[in-house]
Structures are given as structure tokens and as C-alpha cells.
Amino acid sequence: MPLQITRDQARFREIVRGRIQADLDRYIQRGELIGKQAGRLVSIPIPSVELPRFRFGEREQGGVGQGPGAPGDPVGPGDPAGGAGSGEGEHLLEVEVTLDELADILGEGLALPRIRPRAADRIVTARPRYTGVSPSGPESLRHVRRTYKQALRRQIASGTYDPLRPVVVPVREDRRYLTWKELPRPETTAAVVYMMDVSGSMGDQQKELVRLESFWIDTWLRRHYRGLAVRYVVHDAAAREVERDVFFRTRESGGTRISSAYELAAGIVARDFPRAAWNVYAFHFSDGDNEGAEDDRRSLDLLRDRLLPALNLFCYGQVASPSGSGEFLRTLRQGLGPRDDVALSEIAGRDAIRDSIRTFLGTGR
């Protein structure tokens, strides 16, 4: 039965979507969504979805309760009137949105092109697909409903069914089992390698920008690929691979040798993500302060010869920092020239995240 409610629910989701869309910049700039992610769902606080009406302020009004407690004792562990966190002056409704929906909203808001997976047609896996029922098969695939239907049919046919005492007992011949076929299916898998400069000049603010931007990049890529492998590399004068948590927290003091990160990343990609089977993305964030011309050249060589041939897209985001010179962006621009598989952007502050995301993901690769 199609429920009438599905239309109203769809309309509600549409309204929620509209609200998020309208406030997209604010959500992109503030990290509030990242902490609220649970699996494939994000819980998003939406202002004023509820219909306003004349009512009393909860705090002035108070209430009546029942149970133990002397005057002055706190009432229960929770908040009786609800909404302790949202102070007066704001009424927020927490709405759960899937990451896919969020990605679509982002895509619409920034007018991002869909990604055309590069290796899509080349990687083919066979997947079982349940297509029918048969009278034999393993017990674990028994189709209970069909089995009982069959039993009911048999009982009615043989006149042993009593509607007033509707007991249906399947016998061996009634059992039905699921059968399957192997269907070839093109597989699209993607991997992301994030690289970040953690030398002394990259402060917490700079890292926060990277964290925000990587959340949205992940969300967008996950929308297009089934299963996304993400790897993290930090570097100062030397590079190492780290866990996600460490990635955003590490702070080193040494100098910066970007080539070390590219070398490590190239190794990871070559070892784990062969081009034939993976769509590979690499993002590098730095304040652009490399050690010297010698290392600049080495980095460029590594990029051109080893990294870029293995990648769908290489993105370099230069985060503004008070102490960074920002030289490396120019080096890349001059050294690589305009290419489809390279995207460069400058991230001056939170306002610039939006444009940077558009630069990176607007390539549609």
C-alpha cells in the first residue's frame, strides 16, 4: 500500500534540504556537522522548521512533577522541558540527513559536475543476485513466506484448512528456497591520499581549514564511489603515514620537505592502488613554504613522473598562514602548466573553503 504519508515526508525532506541549501556556506565554514556524523547519517541542526506560535518561555513557566526529591534538588538526569542546549532565542530542530543527501546538496549548491569514474568499465566483479525460488536449496536460504503460501495452498486444495483455526504447517514438499544468478557488475572504487604539511608554520587554524575541507571532499567522493579508501600522510622534513585522528592533531616543528610526502604517497599508490583497479585522488595541503629550490625541483619531478600518471586528480590547497611564504603554489603553476588532472587553490580563510572545494571538485574527474 503506498502510504499517503510518503508524500508529506518527501515534502518535509524537501524543506529541510532547502534550509540546508540556503545555509550551505555557514555549514561549510563551521565544523558543527563533522562531530555529528554517525555512520552514514549526519544530524544537522536546522533553525525554525517548527511553526512558531504564541507560547510561554519554558524557563519562566516551570512545571509540576511527581516523585522523590527535596526542594533545590535537580529534577532528573535530563531536561524536563526539553532543549537544554538550545538557549532561548533559538529553536533548532535536529534533522538526520544521509551523507549522500548532503553530498547532493553540496553538489547543487556549488554546481559541481558529477564525477565520471575513469576505471569504471574496466573493473568487473561478479555479484550474486537473487532472482527466483526453487523447491530445493540450502536451509539458510529458505523463503519462509513462499513456503507457508505453498503449504496454505496445499491445505486448501486438500481440504484440511480450517479458517476458524488457521494453522498452517508446511511439510517438506512445501519448502521453497531462494536461487541466485551471478551477474557481472562494473565496480567503481576510489582511494584518497591526503597529505598535509605539519611543520611549525602550520597552526591549529590552518589544520581546521584542512579538516573542514577534507570532510566535504570525502562526502562528495563517497557519493560517487562504493567504498572509499582514505589514507593520510603527514610531513615536515620527513613524511610518514598516520591514522585519521593523528593526521589532524600532529604538530611538528622541523622544516619542510614536500618531496618526502610525494615520494611516500607515490609508494602507497603504487603498492596499494594500482591504476587498473582504482580511481585515485591525492590532496595536498601546505602553507607553501618548501625548503629550497632543490626540493621544489625534486617534488615536481616526482609529481610528473610517478604520481600524476597514477592519479585521477591531484589537488594542492595552499593554506594561508602568517609565516608561510606561499611560494610552492607558484612553483607548481609554473612547473606543471595548465593540466586537467591538477587543481590548485589558495585557502585564505574559512570563506575560501567553498571556492576551494569548487576548484578541486569542479574538474569532474
Binding site: 518535509f12 524537501e14 511553526l51 506560535r53 524557563r59 512545571g63 509540576v64 476458524l164
Partner: protein, 500 residues
């Protein structure tokens, strides 16, 4: 007729149960509406619940929001709807298909309690008993407007009307607030009659000619004055808007629909404690005295006590209600009321007081007919009851930034409770003037009784009101002890402080 598409009739064994339970209920003297039971699965029940019990309701996103909330909380196992019953003749009741049989018995007994209450409580007397059909008509009309004008235009207008939904006069079905309108002609010129007197010889003394003349002059002056609109402040703001706001036809129709539904639901909000208590009282009696099989006792006790459980800081209307009903029955059985009982000052004697009047049953049936929550609590919530039930009042403590128990004193608790129930715990707001400052603006007045309005909501609501009235609207209220005039002209909200 079934209200939800598909076959939801009771299966044979439930039909037999239903006959039994209804027999018990009628045996106890309950007189419910004819009740149509339908069995729905969890999802369908969530849907019907989201529509406030009416599967045929008009389309609106807030039902979708409610549905999402209900199904999510059911999914997480936080809540589960056992039953739903609507005030209609015949009453419709929905059962959850996955309930155990003992639950179905309990729920049926509960439903007959509600259906009896709907039929006999005075507050419901003027509700539309064919609401199931009316709601379907509302939906058809609204859909037609949506087809003609677009979903968004109609929806935006419905949203605005719903923001004003609580500005009704719950007593208006029972009283005539205004005289019938007819234009006062020349012969209708008011005449000063003075005080009434049967004694002709006293007339000059009681109504001196000079006083009469002065009165006549005052009346003439008043008649010459431009009429105020409304003549007296009116609580039914929605009716005032229907009559006076420059609405298009379809807008009027939609506002009328919202108002009809608000009036239909009002008695249920006015009798939450009584109604739930009454149904709980009867399901517990029917189950424990008649319907329960020995094998079902444990599950029954579990689910019954679940329904009566207390959440910290919340009042459970099922519990408060059923305890009050039992207390009333007990008091009238034992004669623990009246002058003699109240005058008695021996504790020992009071404790053992029992006049064996046996009036309990008679009394509760009488009370269920003549009260709503406010009068019910006012009349029957006694000091003893308050202490025995451990009632307290709580409030927000800004120092500790938490909610705290404030008082266990009977007077304070009862006052707080009554305040919460009066006017559904909503602020009392009236139309004062439809031509405010002689500029065609609308002035509402909040009768402030000690609790401030939630200001951001009030401003947003004024915005909605402004969209209906089309001219600036104002609300006179008090904020932190001082008078304030909130105003919205369609573009921005302003607040003007007034003298205290």
C-alpha cells in the same frame, strides 16, 4: 467504511475478544460510541498517528515531520504506539498488529473507556462527530486549491494559519458572545431607563430626572462615537480574522479549515488528564476483574505499569488521572467529603473515616460528565492526594543552570498545576483593536498572568499574523515586569517599551 486503504478488519479471534470486552464495559455501565476497530502494522499506525488519527487528512509537511519522528523513535525502540482512538461517531480505534493478545484486550478496554468519555463529557458536546468525513472534505478542498495555485502558495498560507491555531476561544461553542448584528436604526436610539422599580411613588426618588437626563446624554454621546472593532476584546482571533481580514476566498476557506480542526481538537487538550485517567481506570478494572487469563497476568502488569511509569520531571497524565479517579471513588465510597469530614480535627478519626456510603461509582460517572481538567484538578486534588502522590513543582534555576524541585507545598503545587492546565497552558491573547491608532493596524493584547512570552516565537508569530492582516500588527504584553509593544510591519519586528 474503513479509513485506511486495505483490509484491516479484525481477525476472527480478535473479533471474539472485542465482543467480550465490550460486553464487560457495558456491564460496568460504560456507554461508548459504536467503535470500529482496525488492525494496522507499525508503519501504518505511525502514519495515522502523525495525521492526528485521521488517515484522510490534508497534505502538509508537518505530518511528514511527525511521521519521521515517530518512526525513528519506534525504530530505536524508544516508543511504541499501542493504540489510537478518535472522537467520532462511530469511534475509530487502531490496534497495532504486533501487539500480544493480552495487549489487544487491554487496549480494547482502554478504547471503550475513551469512547465512553467522548460520548458523555460535556466539553465534547459540540465537537463534530462526523469529523472523519469532515477531515476528508478538508483535504479535498485543500488539494483543489493546491492544484490551482501551486503547492507552495497554499502551504505557506497553511503554515501561517497554523501559527495562529491556538488563538481560539474554547468556551465559545457554549456561549453567545455577541448580540446578533443588526444596524441600529433611528428608533433604536438608546433610552436611559434608570433603575428598575415597581413602586410608582418612589420613581422620582430612585431615578431623579436630572440623573436620567445625564445618563441619556452619555448614551447619546456613546452612540455618536465611532464603533470600536471589536466592541469588546475577543478571544477568537481566528474568527475575527475570518470576518475582518482582507483575505481571498480560498484563504478564507483554508483559515476556516484550520479553525474547525483547532476547535475539534481543543476538548482533547482540555481533558487530557481526565480522559486518559478514565480509560486507564476502566482498562485496569475490566482486565483485573474480568478479562485477564491467569497466564497473562505478568505481561499485563508489565505493560500496565509501563504506561503509568514516571519520567523525571514530567507529569504522566495516565497516572495522575487514574489515581485521581480512584481517589474520588474511594472518598465517595467512604464519605470522606463534606463539611463534617473537613471539620473533623482528629487525625485518628480521619484515618479510619468510613461512612460506607458506596457513592463512588455514581460520583465518578457524574464527574466524567461535568468536568474538564481544570475543574477536575481544582475540585478533587486534595492535600492528602498531593502528599501521597509526591507531587512537586519545579522550575529553572539560573544560578545552577538546571531544573530544580521548587516546592512540595500543596498550595504552590496546585496553583502551578492549574496554571498549566488553564487555557491549555497557553497564553491568553485577545484582539483589542482592528483599527489601531486609526491606521487599520491590528492590536492584540496578552493578558499577562506572571509568565512572559517566548519572545522570538512571538515575533515570528506576529510575522505570520501580519501576512494575514496585510497591515502592521502589534501585541501588547509585559516583558520582565515592564509593558512592551511588539510590532511587525511585514519587513521587520520592533519592540517598544512602555510604562509599567
Amino acid at each position: 467504511m474503513t479509513a485506511v486503504a486495505g483490509d484491516h478488519r479484525l481477525p476472527p479471534h480478535l473479533r471474539a475478544l472485542r465482543e467480550r470486552i465490550e460486553g464487560y464495559a457495558r456491564g460496568y455501565g460504560l456507554d461508548p460510541f459504536e467503535t470500529v476497530f482496525e488492525v494496522l502494522d507499525g508503519d501504518e499506525l505511525n502514519m495515522v498517528a502523525a495525521y492526528g488519527g485521521f488517515p484522510t487528512r490534508y497534505p502538509h509537511w508537518r505530518f511528514g515531520m511527525e511521521y519521521e519522528r515517530l518512526s525513528r523513535s519506534a525504530e530505536y525502540g524508544l516508543s511504541r504506539i499501542y493504540e489510537l482512538v478518535i472522537n467520532n461517531d462511530p469511534s475509530y480505534a487502531y490496534l497495532q498488529a504486533s501487539n500480544m493478545d493480552v495487549d489487544q484486550k487491554l487496549v480494547m478496554a482502554h478504547v471503550f473507556g475513551h469512547a465512553d468519555f467522548f460520548k458523555h463529557n460535556y466539553a465534547y458536546r459540540h465537537t463534530n462527530r462526523k469529523m472523519m468525513d469532515a477531515m476528508a472534505n478538508h483535504a479535498t478542498r485543500l488539494r483543489r486549491h493546491q492544484d490551482r495555485l501551486g503547492v507552495e502558495a497554499v502551504e505557506t498560507f497553511v503554515d501561517r494559519c497554523l501559527s495562529l491555531e491556538n488563538l481560539i476561544d474554547p468556551l465559545s461553542p457554549f456561549v453567545k458572545r455577541r448580540a446578533d448584528r443588526s444596524e441600529p436604526g433611528a428608533e433604536d436610539r438608546p433610552v436611559a431607563l434608570g433603575f428598575r422599580t415597581d413602586r410608582e411613588y418612589m420613581r422620582h426618588f430612585i431615578n431623579p430626572p436630572a440623573a436620567l437626563a445625564a445618563e441619556q446624554e452619555r448614551l447619546d454621546a456613546a452612540a455618536g462615537q465611532p464603533r470600536r472593532l471589536p466592541e469588546r476584546p475577543e478571544r477568537d482571533v481566528l474568527l475575527f480574522l475570518l470576518e475582518r481580514a482582507p483575505l481571498e476566498r480560498w484563504e478564507q476557506e483554508v483559515l476556516g479549515i484550520v479553525r474547525d480542526e483547532a476547535y475539534y481538537f481543543a476538548p482533547q487538550a482540555q481533558t487530557k488528564i481526565m480522559n486518559e485517567g478514565w480509560a486507564t481506570y476502566w482498562h485496569s478494572r475490566i482486565m483485573t476483574e474480568r478479562a485477564l487469563d491467569p497466564s497473562e497476568v505478568v505481561d499485563y502488569a508489565d505493560h500496565h505499569s509501563g504506561a503509568l511509569s514516571l519520567q523525571p520531571g514530567q507529569l504522566n497524565p495516565y497516572r495522575l488521572g487514574v489515581e485521581l479517579w480512584r481517589d474520588i471513588e474511594d472518598r465517595w465510597n467512604k464519605g470522606r467529603f463534606g463539611k463534617e469530614y473537613e471539620a473533623c480535627d482528629s487525625l485518628e478519626e480521619l484515618r479510619r473515616w468510613d461512612r460506607r456510603l458506596g457513592l463512588g461509582q455514581q460520583k465518578i460517572f457524574e464527574v466524567r460528565r461535568h468536568h474538564t481538567d481544570v475543574s477536575f484538578v481544582d475540585e478533587f486534588l486534595t492535600l492528602d492526594f498531593c502528599v501521597a502522590q509526591g507531587l512537586f513543582s519545579f522550575g529553572y534555576s539560573p544560578q545552577h543552570a538546571r531544573w530544580e524541585v521548587q516546592s512540595r507545598e500543596f498550595a504552590a503545587v496546585k496553583e502551578r498545576l492549574l496554571r498549566q492546565l488553564t487555557n491549555f497552558g497557553q497564553p491568553e491573547i485577545l484582539v483589542e483593536d482592528g483599527n489601531h491608532e486609526n491606521r487599520g493596524e491590528l492590536l492584540l493584547v496578552h493578558r499577562h498572568d506572571g509568565v512572559d512570552l517566548k519572545l522570538d516565537w512571538a515575533r515570528a508569530t506576529l510575522r505570520a499574523l501580519q501576512a494575514l492582516w496585510r497591515r502592521p500588527v502589534s501585541l501588547s504584553t509585559r516583558v520582565e515586569g515592564r509593558g512592551a509593544l511588539l510590532r511587525h510591519d511585514g519587513r521587520e519586528a520592533t519592540t517598544r517599551r512602555q510604562e509599567p
